[in-house]
């Protein structure tokens, strides 16, 4: 799949933003007054910034409101609704904390659940796509959720929680890679089933339908060299989990800020791979898988 920067930015930034909102909602920490303002400003910048980035890949962003209609069947629609609900409820909670010095626990918990729910709906947009076997399994939501919660713990300064949660996120990410590497083969979809001609002999793509490229090849047939992928995976895991965990041991505020930055860059690299390595079965028709 084509690794579109807008979509990668969205899932990286919003994931972290909603993770932080979830921890704020659960009262970890529970700041009031100006401190609360700072915390909520960071969370909203990340979450809303990501959402705005995601509209850049729409052909008609001016019609985005129409996307709230089909929640009965569409995970993308559910994501939109869940995100708006989470942002509204947490805005109410934030208002109480900033201006009234109040911590309305119930509203906070509802907002936190909605925030985590938003990241879950994002992950389901990918998980439901059967045509990309690498995504179409349980490791996708587990990976998205554990990274959101681990990142949220790190950014909200829950040092004792952050270390085990980040390690968990790392394990989930590696599980996603291990399952993913076998997913296309295990799906049983090949050029033989794609053409229905497999029973007659070996099928080989002889001539493509067009001499140049097209939307399908650009969007779905992105091939990345295995060698580079392995290097990037190592970089992603080190930046996302290993370095932040090591930096947290020092208990220094400055280094904790570096831990957050390193985590963010690591998640960005991992999400780039999430798309770049994903094989869409339509590539089979072009003999590209």
């Amino acid at each position: 799949m084509h690794p579109a920067p807008s979509v990668i930015l969205f899932s990286t930034l919003s994931g972290l933003g909603f993770g932080l909102l979830a921890f704020l909602g659960f009262g970890m920490p529970s700041p009031t007054g100006f401190m609360a303002f700072i915390w909520f400003a960071i969370a909203y910048l990340l979450a809303v910034g990501g959402l705005i980035a995601s509209t850049f890949h729409l052909g008609h962003p001016e019609r985005a409101l129409k996307a709230f209609k089909q929640w009965r069947s569409s995970w993308l629609s559910r994501e939109g609704i869940c995100a708006v609900a989470a942002l509204l409820v947490m805005a109410l909670y934030g208002f109480g904390a900033v201006f009234l010095g109040a911590n309305w626990t119930l509203i906070g918990v509802v907002g936190a659940v909605l925030s985590i729910g938003t990241v879950f709906t994002t992950s389901m947009i990918y998980t439901q796509i059967k045509t990309v076997p690498r995504w179409h399994n349980w490791t996708t939501p587990v990976m998205f959720l554990s990274i959101c919660i681990g990142g949220g713990a790190l950014l909200s300064g829950q040092v004792s929680l952050a270390t085990p949660l980040l390690i968990l996120a790392g394990v989930a990410q590696i599980a996603h890679w291990i399952f993913g590497d076998k997913a296309l083969v295990n799906s049983g979809t090949t050029l033989a089933t794609a053409t229905g001609l497999g029973a007659r002999g070996d099928v080989r793509a002889f001539e493509p339908p067009h001499t140049g490229t097209n939307y399908l090849l650009k969007e779905f047939v992105y091939v990345i060299a295995r060698k580079h992928a392995l290097k990037l995976r190592i970089i992603a895991i080190v930046l996302m989990v290993v370095l932040p965990v090591l930096l947290l041991i020092t208990h220094s505020h400055i280094l904790a800020a570096f831990a957050v930055l390193s985590h963010l860059v690591g998640v960005f690299a991992a999400r780039w791979l999430f798309f770049a390595e994903a094989e869409h079965v339509v590539g089979l028709y072009y003999g590209k898988r």
Binding site: M1, H57, L58, G59, H60, P61, R63, A64, K66, A67, F68, K69, Q70, R72, S73, S74, W75, L76, S77, G80, I125, Q128, I129, K130, T131, V132, S187, G188, T189, L191, T193, A194, T195, G196, L197, R200, G201, D202, V203, R204, A205, F206, E207, P208, P209, H210, G212, T213, N214, Y215, L216, E219, F220, H280, V281, V282, Y285, Y286
Partner: protein, 259 residues
């Protein structure tokens, strides 16, 4: 609208005969022509006369080689367009309801006024049947020529999809699969019409007829006229022989066929 109808009154679709298709791409061109001039946004091209022409097409013809274990290789031309799936994943993922399947005839369409161009439906389609138009930024797909098949302004024989009307080989057939007596149902039953990627669970309406088995292996056949076509003399003699040598010895002539 994005939820799928549980059943449709008709199941309109195509039968594509892989045995007769000659890979002429006429159906590709007639599809592009009709759908550029009619229903919805035109199918745009980018850099059409330049270095890297690309464009939106709703029907494309691949070519595959089959190499059986004990027989000569076969070349199969393979037209591919939307299969108007009964369990269409492209419809259920759509957040706006722009993608829908019609209850009356099962045709899968895009309402371009509602499409936000998110591309998710193209991700969900296993067959590459949807293409985002790079000019209009909306999703385009085969409409089964919905603006021809019911169009009473057209002569009766033209009320079928442009690709079917155009195909010079008779490799494309249009009809109602819900009717067991229809031309397409009978063809499918007689010739073992098959689904593409059945494991994807999309239940395609369009069926593909597999190439007929070759009745015998012709690779060892000898043409009865072959002995008469053997070269009579390997070395030219007489006047021709002299001419050949004379020309050969002239300066500038080459032995390696350089000119």
């Amino acid at each position: 609208m994005t939820t799928l109808p549980t059943s449709t009154a008709k199941k309109l679709g195509l039968v594509i005969d892989l045995d007769t298709c000659v890979g002429c791409h006429a159906c590709v061109i007639s599809c592009k022509g009709w759908n550029t001039e009619n229903y919805g946004a035109p199918l745009s091209d980018q850099d059409p006369y330049g270095e890297n022409p690309t464009g939106t097409f709703l029907n494309r013809v691949h070519s595959y080689e089959i190499q059986p274990k004990e027989a000569p290789a076969q070349l199969i031309h393979f037209p591919k367009s939307c299969l108007h799936c009964e369990d269409a994943p492209c419809v259920t993922v759509c957040p706006t309801g722009a993608s829908y399947k019609r209850v009356e005839d099962g045709i899968v369409l895009v309402n371009e006024q509602d499409c936000i161009g998110c591309g998710l439906c193209a991700w969900a389609c296993p067959y590459g049947a949807r293409e985002m138009d790079q000019e209009e930024k909306v999703m385009k797909k085969c409409t089964l020529c919905v603006d021809r098949i019911y169009n009473t302004n057209l002569p009766e024989e033209d009320r079928e999809p442009a690709c079917v009307r155009t195909c010079p080989a008779g490799a494309r057939h249009f009809g109602d699969f819900a009717d067991p007596e229809s031309n397409v149902s009978i063809l499918t039953a007689e010739r073992g019409g098959m689904d593409l990627m059945p494991e994807m669970g999309t239940k395609p309406v369009n069926k593909y007829l597999p190439p007929r088995p070759k009745d015998r292996d012709r690779s060892e056949d000898v043409d009865i006229l072959a002995p008469f076509l053997e070269p009579v003399a390997t070395e030219a003699t007489g006047f021709l022989g002299w001419l050949d040598k004379a020309l050969e010895s002239m300066p500038g002539s080459s032995k390696g066929g350089k000119n």
